[in-house]
């Protein structure tokens, strides 16, 4: 099953390498990893999508992430009410007469054409992985020249929080944790 983790990490050189190295050496598989700044200076946020057999594997990932000194908080949002989004830029082969067809498809997916060249257009589509896969399938027969995707980012809805199942990680009980740690920033 696919698991999605949100990790807050210190924004320091090499932290991405530490996380990636951890997944490699512990034999966990990264499906996608997106990293960027947060509302707090000095803290980056990673959304990590992995394939895990079960919750025990998810625990192992969480607990190992906490072993990295630069990792401040980890939550599993796989089964929580959450908004997840992926962004794709898709360059499609398109003669001028095909642009209308692509434009119609884009409209159905609430995607946008963000660049038009004589022989191609770039479609920007945002959404869940499923939605993007759907869009890609429809564009494929027309001819995809290039594609780039950001990987998933995730945020829980409203007051909901992710699961923190690692006992005692990073302090005596996670419930004491992320707020207290973040307050130091």
């Amino acid at each position: 099953m696919q698991y999605t983790f949100i990790a807050l990490v210190e924004d320091k050189p090499g932290v991405l390498n530490r996380v990636a190295s951890l997944f490699r050496r512990r034999n966990f598989n990264i499906e996608s990893l997106a990293v960027g700044r947060t509302e707090r200076p000095g803290i980056s946020r990673m959304t990590i999508v992995t394939e895990c057999a079960n919750d025990l594997d998810a625990h192992k990932i969480e607990a190992n992430l906490y072993k990295l000194v630069n990792v401040i908080d980890v939550q599993d949002v796989s089964r929580q009410p959450a908004v997840t989004r992926d962004l794709a830029l898709i360059k499609v082969k398109a003669k001028p007469e095909q642009r209308a067809e692509i434009n119609n498809l884009a409209a159905i997916f609430r995607a946008r054409i963000v660049d038009v060249a004589p022989d191609s257009v770039i479609v920007e589509v945002t959404g869940t992985e499923d939605k993007i896969e759907g869009m890609v399938e429809l564009l494929r027969p027309i001819g995809i020249l290039e594609m780039v995707r950001t990987g998933q980012v995730a945020m829980t809805r409203g007051e909901h929080a992710g699961i923190r199942r690692t006992p005692g990680a990073n302090g005596n009980g996670w419930h004491l944790h992320p707020a207290a740690a973040l307050a130091e920033y």
Binding site: S21, G168, G173, Y185
Partner: protein, 564 residues
């Protein structure tokens, strides 16, 4: 106060209480070595950086303090790698300080440039690349804190040459602020209650005592716990000494070469209390058949060890000493008479096979030699070992009653560990007797440190168990490869002459009647002494749990008809 980065480094090291460092100078750490002359720190010049790493590790294990090893950039740093991995696998608190080329040269393949933080990332608890002098104080403070707290481990600081030379204001940071690093201490009350309930129900409990007992300083509370609940104590290789071997509740060592009665107790237990151990494959045998009837309580400071190899019923994540102290009042006194009697029966059966009952056959057996050493030193020496058969025999027959006197490479199984770790241990306890028991193979891997021992006057006694074989590999080839001996026959030099070339008194021992006198000679002669024992060549360590077998499917030593 403006100081050079190198001076700031030594200011910080002395404030951390560092009195001795093990290292080797080179181009990229010369400013550090220059500044060192002005500070009250003793530097031990090793012959190979691996030796420095093992010495710092041995020092840390014997003293309970943080060891420090230094090397220059490039090959100096990469030579540390085996020692860093050894410290990592055994959770040993060592700070490694390496020189690095100047910051503006990084990435340009400068002379002796190697990506040391990249190389050591998976084998350190944490590591740092320092490019500016004003980062040094905070970094050193953090490194020592991380190395010794929580689950201890090695931390590496790679310091660029420019950062060593440039000047910065020296302000010693009073506190360490690491929001992502907060080691747990207490376990939640609800989990303690759950553990106490399992303990109250248990009829056949066994404590599994690991390295964490020593790391956490929980030896005393462990004894209270074991005695109050009358629970027998099995030890991992690195847990030896954490609970006295001579205590009636001691089961000795568990695992692949553990005591038969100990492994039988684990396999038949209805409750395992795993204290500061990590269910390594060398102690569990095949996981699917491991302790099938037992509930499991795991007290462990590293949450990633919980459920890693063996799923447990109650994990108590926290500092072992703290958690055990909290748990002790919640458990009832017990006697477990039937269970202890059952174990005593198993033990009696095993004793009949003991090699100690063998008649004198004119040959040297390592187990007998270790027993003689144990007797001569009244069981109170600090003993380090290399890795292999001699290591297992020493673990089995040097009965450790006190903590932090048994020093051996467990998780990594690093050959060449014995001699340098003994030198390191001697620096931690100069007034105590230090022995290293090594094989002929492992000794030759770090033999060069004999010269270091002489230069430092290290009072280390070396016992080489020479069977002209890589004995443990030979044993596996005998058992599992139809005795097809491949690359295990080793022609050894005349170790006595090697010792004499270093000015080290030495003796060759070939007959049992010479053993006691040789040990006495080593003990009475100050400074390093080397004894070479020509031991029985093709002997096997028993009991043995073959890889892939259940823990109670041991190969047992054949009973000799002529045994006493």
């Amino acid at each position: 106060m403006k100081l050079s980065g190198a001076e700031i480094l030594w200011e910080c090291l002395t404030r951390e209480g560092v009195e001795v460092v093990f290292g080797y100078p080179g181009g990229a750490n010369m400013p550090i070595y220059d500044a060192m002359l002005n500070y009250p720190v003793h530097h031990v010049l090793v012959r190979h950086e691996q030796g420095a790493a093992h010495m710092a590790d041995g020092y840390a294990r014997a003293s309970g303090r943080v060891g420090v090893a230094m090397a220059t950039s490039g090959p100096g740093a990469t030579n540390l790698v085996t020692g860093i991995a050894t410290a990592m696998m055994d959770s040993s608190p060592v700070v490694f300080i390496t020189g690095q080329v100047a910051a503006h040269l990084i990435g340009g393949d400068a002379f002796q440039e190697t990506d040391v933080t990249g190389i050591t990332l998976p084998i350190t608890k944490h590591n740092y690349l320092v490019t500016r002098a004003d980062e040094i104080a905070q970094t050193v403070r953090e490194a020592f804190y991380i190395a010794r707290s929580g689950r201890p481990g090695p931390v590496l600081i790679d310091i660029c040459k420019n950062a060593q030379i440039e000047k910065a204001d020296f302000v010693y940071p009073e506190e360490v602020k690491l929001p992502g690093y907060q080691p747990p201490s207490h376990a939640p009350e609800v989990d303690l209650q759950a553990a106490a309930a399992l303990i109250a129900e248990a009829k056949r409990p066994v404590i599994l005592c690991g390295h964490g007992v020593l790391m956490s300083g929980a030896e005393e509370v462990l004894q209270h716990f074991a005695i109050k609940t009358q629970t027998p104590v099995a030890m991992t290789l690195l847990g030896l000494g954490a609970f006295p071997a001579s205590h009636p509740l001691s089961l000795g060592m568990m695992g692949m070469h553990g005591e038969a009665h100990c492994n039988l107790a684990i396999q038949n237990a209805d409750l395992l209390l795993a204290f500061g151990m990590r269910f390594d494959d060398r102690v569990t045998g095949t996981l699917s058949s491991y302790a099938p009837k037992a509930k499991k309580i795991h007290i462990e400071i590293d949450p990633s060890e919980v459920h890693k190899n063996v799923p447990v019923d109650v994990p108590l994540v926290g500092d072992l000493k703290t958690v055990l102290t909290d748990l002790l009042p919640l458990v009832d006194e017990n006697d477990h008479d039937d269970w202890l009697r059952q174990i005593a029966d198993w033990k009696a059966e095993g004793d009949a096979r003991s090699i100690m009952n063998w008649p004198q056959d004119g040959k040297l057996h390592v187990s007998h030699l270790v027993h003689d050493l144990w007797e001569a030193t009244a069981g109170s020496a600090i003993v380090t070992t290399d890795v292999g058969q001699h290591q297992m025999w020493t673990a089995q027959y040097y009965f450790m009653d006190q903590p932090r006197r048994w020093i051996s490479s467990g998780g990594a199984g690093t050959m060449g560990f014995g001699l340098p770790s003994a030198i390191g241990a001697w620096f931690a306890h100069k007034d105590e007797e230090v022995w290293t028991v090594v094989g002929d193979g492992g000794f030759q891997m770090t033999q060069a440190e004999l010269s270091t021992a002489v230069q430092e006057g290290a009072n280390v006694k070396i016992a080489i168990m020479n069977n002209n074989f890589l004995g443990m590999v030979r044993q596996w080839q005998e058992f599992f490869f139809e005795k097809r001996y491949s690359a295990v026959n080793m022609r050894t030099p005349d170790f006595v002459k090697i010792a004499e070339a270093h000015g080290v008194p030495a003796r060759l021992v070939t007959k049992p009647e010479e053993v006691k006198a040789a040990i006495a000679f080593a003990r009475q002669t100050p400074g390093p002494v080397l004894l070479e024992f020509r031991v029985e060549k093709e002997e096997a360590v028993y009991p043995m749990v073959p890889a892939g077998a259940a823990l109670d499917q041991m190969l047992r030593r054949p009973v000799r008809q002529d045994a006493a």
